[in-house]
Amino acid sequence: MSTSTEPEAKGSAAAEPAAPADRVGSGTRLAMILLQGRTLIVLVALVIMFSLISSDYLTTSNLLLMSKHVSITALLAIGVTFVILTGGIDLSVGSISGLAGMISGGLLYEGLKLPGGDTVWFSTVMVIVIGILIGAAVGAINGLLVTKLKVAPFIATLGVLYAARGLADLRSKGGTFPNLAGTPARHNTGFNVLGGKSWIGVPVAIWIMIVVAALAIIVTTRTPFGRRVYAVGGNERAAELAGIRTSRIKIAVYIISGACAALAGLILTSELGAAYPDTATTYELNAIAAAVLGGTALAGGKGSIIGTLVGAFVIGFLSDGLVLVGVSSFWQLVVKGTVIVLAVVLEQTQERVKTRMTT
C-alpha cells in the first residue's frame, strides 16, 4: 500500500483479485503483500524498536518534532519524485533551497537595493512568493537545459547544483542575514510562521507538507498531466507519438521540483531565523533516497507520491531515532546507507515475485 508501483497497480489488484489467487500459493501472496508494504513495515518496525529502547521516542512532542524534520525532506522528495517519474533526476534541489532562502532572507533583511540608492521592501507574502518563483525559475532552467539543449539530466542539474549554490553565496558574499524579523511598518513581519509556529498543536511546516503532498497525489493520480508524466517516463517515444508534448511535461516537472525545493528552503530559513548560504547542502541526496526507498524507479514511469512520503518518514525517523538513543553520527551514516541499498534489493525481489505471479 505504501509503495505500489503506480496508480494503476491498485486498480488492477482490486479488479481481478481471484485470477492470481487461483494459481499462486498463499505463501507467495503473503510475501507479495509484505513486499509491497515493505517501507511502511520498516517504518512501523523502526518506531516500535526505538520506543522500546527509549521512552522519549514515542511521545507526541517527539513525533511532532521528527515529523517537522521530515517535512523538509518530504517537500524536496515530492518535487524530485515528479522528475524521477519522467526518467530524469534533479540534483540541484538542495542548492535551490539555499538560493531561495538567501533571496527571501535578503529581501527581509535589507530589501531590494536599486541602482539609484533607493531600497524597495516587500511584504512577507510577496517575499515568500518571490522565493518560490526563484525556485521555479531555476527549475525551468534545468528543464530547458534537458529538453532544448539535450543535456543529460544528471549533468544539467549537477551544473545547476554548483551554480545555484554559488549564487546563494554571492547574494551575501558568503555571509549570513542574521535577522529576518522585519518591521511592522514595512509589512514584512511574521516570516517565522513558516518554520517556527504551530496551528492546532501541529507545526506549520507539517501542515505545508500535508497540503503539498495531497496536491501532488491528486496531480499524479487524477489529472491528465500526471498520467502524461508516467507515460513520458515509461516510454518517451510512445508518449510523443500519442500526441504528448514531452518537452513541456519535462520542463514542468523540473519547475515543480524547483518550487518545492524553494518552499523547503524558506521553511528551513524561517526555522533558523537567519538566512545563510549553506542551507540544505547535500539535502538532494536525502530527497532522492526517500523517493527510491518509496519505490520510485530511477528509470522512470514507476513510483508514487505516497511511497515517497513513507520513504521520507523512514529516513527522518531513523536518523532522529539514532540520535535519540545516542548512536554516533558516523554509525548513523552507515545505517542510513545500508537501509537505502536494502530497500532497492527488496524492490527487485518484489518485481521477481510479481513476475512469478503473473506468468
Partner: protein, 534 residues
C-alpha cells in the same frame, strides 16, 4: 543453389515415403532424428503452455515449426535450448536422454539458438562479438586479437560473408548483423541451430542470402529448427513442417506434401481465403493530399519529393523493401520527423510539425515497432488506450477512474481485444492484442486518415484477420487508410490502390486490378532496374 522450392531435389525430402501428409505424430522413424522432444509438457501455475508435445528434428534438414502466437513454439524452443525446464517429458539427443539445466549446457551439447531480437553488442567489433564471453587467450592471459580476427574471418567465410572482423557491429546493416549472430553461434560447434523468426527484420535480398546460408548448413549436415510466421518464406526453405496449436502438436509432414492452405488450416482451423476481407468500398473526396514531401537524410534524402493522395473510403497500401523510406514517410506524416513539402488533411493544411497538431488535424499512426514506439509498458491497458485523449475525459480538470474504465471497456469490446481486465498491465497481452490497444488509442482520436505501419508485424494469423477486418470497416465508414507492408500477399489482398516505394521515391501507383506481384517487385527495385536496362 537456392532452389528448395522444388523439394524433389533435396535428398531428404525424396527419401520421405510418408503416404499421408497430415499424418500427425505417426511419421515413420526411418529418417535419422538429431533431436527428439518426447511428450514434453510445460505449465506455468495452472496454465498449460505445452501438453505432451513430441517434436522431432531430422538430421541435416530444415525443420520448420509454425503456429499462432501462444501456440507454444517459443516455450518449446526455450526448453530445447536450456532456458526453461520442462514440467514433464524428456529430450533425446541422438537417441540418448539429455538434460539442459542451462543454455550453456545445451550449447555444450551442440544446440545453439538465435533469438528474434539480436543479442549482439553494437559497440563492439564483429570479432569481439563472435568471441564475446569466450575470448581466446594467449599465454600471458591476454586476448589474442589476431587469432580472434582470423577465426572470425573464417567463421564468416563459412557463411560466404566477406565482412571485415574489425567493423563495429552497430555499423552493419541489420541483415549482416543477423549473419554475424549466426556466425557466433556456429563457431561454437553447433550441430543443431534453432532460429526464432530470423527474417522478421530482413529485406528480401537479405532473406535470400540467409536462405543460401541455410542451404550450405544443410549440406554441412547441420540440423536447423526454424520458427516463422511467413508462409511463403518457410515453404521455400523448409524440408519438414510441424504445426503447433494451443500447446499441442496438430500436424507434422514433409514440406512437399503440404500446401499453404493446408498449413494455414492446421494452424487456425480455417482456410487462408478468409484472411483478407477487402471488398472495395465507394471512394469519396481526397482526405489526405501530400505534395513534394521530402525528409532530408545522408547521403540521399530518406523520402525524396513524394506526392500522393488518399481518398475517403480508400485503403492505400505502400509496398517496398526495408530502407525504402516507408517508415520515414509515415513518421513525417505524423510529425515525428522534420520534413519539407505540404500535407493537407480534408482540405486543411498542416502548419506545425508536432504530433499533437497532426492528431488534431485528423491523422493518427499505428507505428511499426509497438514496443519501442507504441506501448507504455508500465501502464495499464486503460491508460494506454486513453493516452491520446485524456483531455476529453476530465471533469473539473480531474480524471474519473470510473469513467475511464467505462470508456476503455467500450473500446475493448468494439475491437474485441482479449484482456483479463482493462486495469491489467498492457504487457500481459499477446502481441495481437497489444496492437489492437494501440489501434484503439489511434481510433479514439477520431482520425480522418489512419496510418498503419506494418500493422500485422509479429502477430498471429487470427489477430491479422481481425486487423484487416477493422481496416475494411473503417474504410467503409469513410475513413482513409494508408498502410505499409512488406508482405506482398497482404498489400495485394487489402489495398484498393498500391504505392510502391524505392529509395525514398514512389516508383509505382497501381490500382488493385493492375497490381501483379511482378509489377510490384519490379517497382520496388526500380532504381536498380533502370540502371541495368536503360
Amino acid at each position: 543453389m537456392t532452389e528448395p522450392t522444388d523439394p524433389a531435389e533435396t535428398p531428404i525430402a525424396s527419401r520421405s515415403g510418408t503416404p499421408a501428409a497430415s499424418d500427425a505424430a505417426g511419421t515413420p522413424s526411418t529418417e535419422p532424428t538429431a533431436l527428439v522432444a518426447e511428450e514434453i509438457t510445460k505449465s506455468y501455475g495452472g496454465v498449460h503452455a505445452l501438453r505432451g508435445v513430441t517434436f522431432k528434428a531430422r538430421t541435416g534438414a530444415v525443420n520448420v515449426l509454425v503456429g499462432e502466437n501462444g501456440a507454444g513454439k517459443s516455450t518449446l524452443m526455450k526448453i530445447l535450448s536450456g532456458a526453461e525446464q520442462p514440467t514433464g517429458g524428456r529430450i533425446l539427443l541422438d537417441g540418448e536422454p539429455v538434460e539442459f539445466p542451462t543454455p550453456r549446457e545445451a550449447l555444450a551439447h551442440g544446440i545453439g539458438i538465435i533469438h528474434q531480437e539480436l543479442s549482439l553488442f553494437p559497440n563492439l567489433s564483429v570479432a569481439d562479438n563472435i568471441f564475446a564471453g569466450r575470448e581466446l587467450h594467449n599465454r600471458a592471459h591476454l586476448t589474442s586479437v589476431a587469432e580472434q580476427r582470423r577465426r572470425a574471418r573464417s567463421a564468416l567465410a563459412r557463411l560466404r560473408q566477406d565482412i571485415d572482423p574489425d567493423t563495429l557491429v552497430g555499423d552493419l546493416p541489420i541483415g549482416s548483423q543477423q549473419l554475424v549472430e549466426i556466425a557466433r553461434v556456429l563457431s561454437q560447434n553447433v550441430r543443431i541451430l534453432i532460429m526464432d523468426e530470423p527474417t522478421s527484420a530482413l529485406s528480401n535480398a537479405e532473406v535470400d542470402v540467409l536462405f543460401e546460408v541455410m542451404d550450405d548448413l544443410r549440406e554441412q549436415n547441420v540440423t536447423v529448427i526454424y520458427i516463422s510466421h511467413k508462409l511463403e518464406e518457410f515453404r521455400r526453405i523448409g524440408d519438414y513442417v510441424t504445426v503447433l496449436r494451443d500447446g499441442a502438436l496438430v500436424a507434422e509432414a514433409s514440406m512437399d506434401r503440404t500446401d499453404t492452405a493446408w498449413i494455414v488450416q492446421q494452424m487456425v482451423g480455417r482456410s487462408q481465403d478468409s484472411l483478407f476481407t477487402r471488398s472495395a468500398s465507394r471512394t469519396g473526396d481526397v482526405l489526405l493530399a501530400v505534395e513534394n514531401l521530402s525528409v532530408p537524410g545522408k547521403p540521399t534524402p530518406l523520402v525524396d519529393d513524394v506526392s500522393f493522395n488518399v481518398k475517403a473510403g480508400e485503403i492505400v497500401g505502400i509496398y517496398g523493401l526495408m530502407g525504402a523510406g516507408r517508415t520515414e514517410l509515415m513518421e513525417a506524416l505524423i510529425g515525428m520527423r522534420h520534413h519539407t513539402g505540404t500535407i493537407q488533411v480534408d482540405g486543411r493544411r498542416a502548419v506545425d510539425g508536432r504530433v499533437s497538431g497532426r492528431l488534431a488535424l485528423g491523422l493518427a499512426l499505428v507505428p511499426e515497432d509497438r514496443q519501442r514506439d507504441g506501448l507504455v509498458q508500465a501502464l495499464s491497458v486503460r491508460a494506454n488506450l486513453l493516452l491520446s485523449t485524456l483531455n476529453t475525459l476530465t471533469r473539473h480538470l480531474l480524471l474519473s477512474p470510473a469513467r475511464e474504465r467505462r470508456v476503455a471497456t467500450g473500446q475493448v469490446k468494439d475491437l474485441r481485444i482479449k484482456v483479463p481486465g482493462v486495469d491489467a498491465q498492457v504487457t500481459q497481452l499477446s502481441g495481437g492484442n497489444q496492437q489492437k490497444v494501440i489501434l484503439g488509442r489511434a481510433l479514439r482520436t477520431d482520425p480522418k486518415v489512419l496510418l498503419l505501419d506494418e500493422p500485422t508485424r509479429g502477430i498471429d494469423i487470427g489477430a491479422k484477420t481481425e486487423i484487416f477486418r477493422i481496416m475494411s470497416d473503417l474504410a467503409d465508414k469513410g475513413l482513409g487508410v494508408l498502410f505499409v507492408s512488406s508482405e506482398l500477399a497482404e498489400v495485394m489482398g487489402m489495398s484498393d490502390r498500391i504505392l510502391v516505394m524505392a529509395r525514398g521515391r514512389i516508383t509505382a501507383d497501381l490500382p488493385r486490378g493492375e497490381a501483379t506481384e511482378e509489377a510490384l517487385v519490379n517497382a520496388s527495385a526500380s532504381t536498380t532496374v533502370m540502371k541495368v536496362s536503360p
